[in-house]
Symmetry: C2
Subunit: 104 residues, 2 copies
Amino acid sequence: SRLEENVKKTLSDNHVVIYSKTWCSYSSEVKSLFKKLGVQPHVVELDQMGPQGPQLQKVLERLTGQHTVPNVFIGGKHIGGCTDTVKLHRKGELESLLSDVSDR
Amino acid sequence: SRLEENVKKTLSDNHVVIYSKTWCSYSSEVKSLFKKLGVQPHVVELDQMGPQGPQLQKVLERLTGQHTVPNVFIGGKHIGGCTDTVKLHRKGELESLLSDVSDR
Ligand SMILES: N[C@@H](CCC(=O)N[C@@H](CS)C(=O)NCC(=O)O)C(=O)O
Ligand SMILES: N[C@@H](CCC(=O)N[C@@H](CS)C(=O)NCC(=O)O)C(=O)O
Ligand code: FES
């Protein structure tokens, strides 16, 4: 589908992608974690896209098995949600994943 | 207003009240914290009340200054949101507040 192609293009064009909702504290947590690490993630706010939002959320579920937000990708690879991302950070693995995909 | 009277009655009838949303992880965190402490909170899921949900959220904002969920009350007293409640718990103050209002 065209929406699925959109997602794949977004994931290949951007090192860090976060599918988020503006009102969601878990989404905010993950966005500020990346900022703290000096990374500028590409954020897609699903609640600000009208009817496309829920459709996108469905596409993401098809692609990743995850229907919740935040939905985090690094270098096109599905990382998970807020808890998963924070866990990786505590293990020190997040920063290595980030250095793998960018030139920093 | 009648909705405001409803809230006041709910707060006086129940030791612990949580205004919540079913999809919200911060709300889930606070609900399970109380369960872990052996407390059965009175939970009001604002997203399951049709148009009354947003109206209730407005009443709560008038009463507490807080427009977000979760919105937590102990013994009728406004505690705050998830972060505030977790903070109180870490300081050991949550359990004393709880023992003040109940017979446990
Ligand atoms: N453990 C997951 C929880 C994800 C979750 O439950 N997200 C909620 C919002 S906090 C959600 O997507 N609810 C359904 C929705 O908003 O469509 C994480 O850390 O990201
Ligand atoms: N620091 C606050 C954050 C509260 C917050 O931002 N809540 C979000 C959901 S996680 C909210 O109410 N957003 C607006 C809404 O859902 O109406 C807390 O710990 O409770
Ligand atoms: S909506 Fe509350 S934490 Fe996501």
